[in-house]
Symmetry: C2
């Protein structure tokens, strides 16, 4: 496929077309080579497309569907019954080679299940992982995975996440030898649960990896590692807790005085790179194609960032580089 | 026992007597009724006691020991071989009724194992839990447990933590009907792991509890619950992550200009109630007596706060009130 084509689920998230359509417009104007495939319910999507004149745009194709995935829909239900949903059709387009990446801000569980069904995981990958960037104290980013796609993980899966994270850091952050760490409750070898301890032992056996041991929650932002691996329950709580603290600091003791307003302004500036709008877009990696999950509460600039992230992954050809990494690892018989 | 006596492990933590001795001096001067039993290695402790004239203090008794628990010592090793350690002797004093509460900043795993061995859990309590306070956006505190004593927990244990947390909130925060929540990765009933979902179902059966469902990491500080329950892995990561974000905000872009210094000063003021020194002291609850775990890196004002917290628990008679709660629950056949 020579064209840069991204499939967008226009219905997911808390606001649907009211934020996905303006984001699509911005993406098209920023990237002259970008083509979009849009999926949604006609009743809801069409008025927004017409308002923003996307229905006549030369680089846009629209496909209306009869269903959408709700935030409360169980993955198994969505998989079986919502086969004409915007999410499923966007993923189908990817599987059929009509698009190179897909963005959705819908229900994570359903997206994960449908992505596995339509795209399959890469050879050697048990489960895809949701990966996101964390700002670091000295500048730059670290990658955290899994942040919610896999609630519990065994040692083998954590090791696979480390390999996928390594590739993602090399491709998207440009770090030649990413330092890899496991998120744990202490630095000592005997800390943590069985899965984390076993994963630590196995990562030490991968001589080609720069594995640096355990790090704790208070070290997530200190620049001590480039790839931080944990199960999806722990990663989700860590990510959301950091958002919660940022909100706590911004939200409290807000008074109407000039000094207070000035301080809040300065604090917001300091917090800007922790702004969910800026780092919105967690990628589901380990699949045969790129899927980006936008925050359910994302606004249009946040959804735009998720689209840009999908474009970046197409340019880095991330799935192929992860596939190559696992191919090598399988040949080295390290993994199995 | 009519006297207010606290046993202190003077050796634990990163700094030992250099911070525990000044903290003991301050506590004695703040509380005229307080008596202290101090445990430590003579070589290290005696010079500090003499420098601060605690060796001759009328309300201080010193007992020298031959061992101390190291940060890297495994719990099983400490339990079997460090029977004359300062930590073990401090807990023994509690078990023998020579003191009413104990404070240590030593190794959490060893403290947990030794506390269970010497003090036993209360009837109906499987495992003690480490509980701490989290500042809330509208003022006041919520309690979070477990923050690291139990790496993985089943549903029954999470339910027990909820009951212990309820009592602790009633006694120490003065909240008559504490709102209880489970920390999870989403609000919907199908989210999370099996233990959390089962605990949620069982908490709904406790009609006398004000159980309000799941909350996520970003809601930890929003005042939505008074008692937040999770396993020790998740709680430890959540607590430490919130400390990490606070440090990230204070530490970055620190420049030498006046404006930058002024901003950092103001930010520190805003962050003051997130200052680990102020909320230092997680309590190990569910035992027959009060044990307070101070942060390993606590300074002397933080260790002082842990001592004051231990005194508070003696005054509230927290173990007796938890025992009474479990007695009622057992009688109601809710728990088993």
């Amino acid at each position: 496929m020579s064209q840069l084509i991204v499939a967008l689920d226009m219905m997911g998230g808390d606001y649907g077309p009211s934020i996905t359509v303006p984001a699509a417009v911005q993406a098209l104007s920023l990237l002259p080579d970008l083509n979009l495939l849009l999926f949604g319910l006609e009743d809801e999507l069409a008025p927004w497309l017409s308002r923003f004149q996307l229905d006549k745009h030369s680089r846009v194709q629209v496909q209306y569907c009869s269903q959408q995935v709700g935030n409360d829909d169980k993955a198994a239900y969505a998989l079986r019954h919502l086969t004409d949903s915007s999410m499923r059709n966007a993923l189908n387009a990817l599987a059929l080679g009509r698009a190179c990446a897909c963005v959705s801000s819908g229900n994570t569980g359903a997206l994960m299940a449908m992505a596995i069904r339509t795209l399959s995981t890469l050879p050697g990958v048990d489960r895809p992982a949701l990966i996101t960037r964390l700002p670091q104290i000295g500048g730059g980013y670290a990658l955290l995975l899994d942040v919610g796609a896999n609630i519990s993980c065994n040692a083998e899966q954590l090791v696979q996440f480390a390999l996928m994270g390594e590739q993602t850091a090399q491709q998207t952050l440009g770090i030649t030898h990413p330092r890899i760490a496991l998120l744990n409750v202490g630095a000592e070898a005997n800390k943590g649960n069985e899965a984390v301890r076993q994963a630590g032992l196995r990562l030490r056996e991968h001589a080609e990896l720069d594995y640096s041991g355990y790090i704790e929650g208070n070290e997530l932002f200190l620049g001590r590692a480039d790839v931080i691996v944990c199960d999806g329950f722990v990663g989700n709580v860590a990510l959301k807790t950091s958002e919660g603290v940022a909100k706590l600091l911004l939200g409290q003791r807000r008074r109407s005085g000039f000094l207070s307003k000035f301080l809040t302004f300065c604090l917001k500036k300091r917090l800007s790179h922790l702004n969910p709008d800026q780092y919105n877009g967690a990628s589901l990696i380990g699949l045969r194609a790129s899927v980006v999950k936008s925050h359910g509460s994302a606004g249009s600039s946040a959804f735009l960032n998720a689209i840009l992230q999908a474009v970046g992954q197409i340019e880095y050809n991330l799935p192929a580089s992860i596939a190559h990494r696992f191919d090598t690892a399988l040949q080295d018989s390290h993994l199995r």
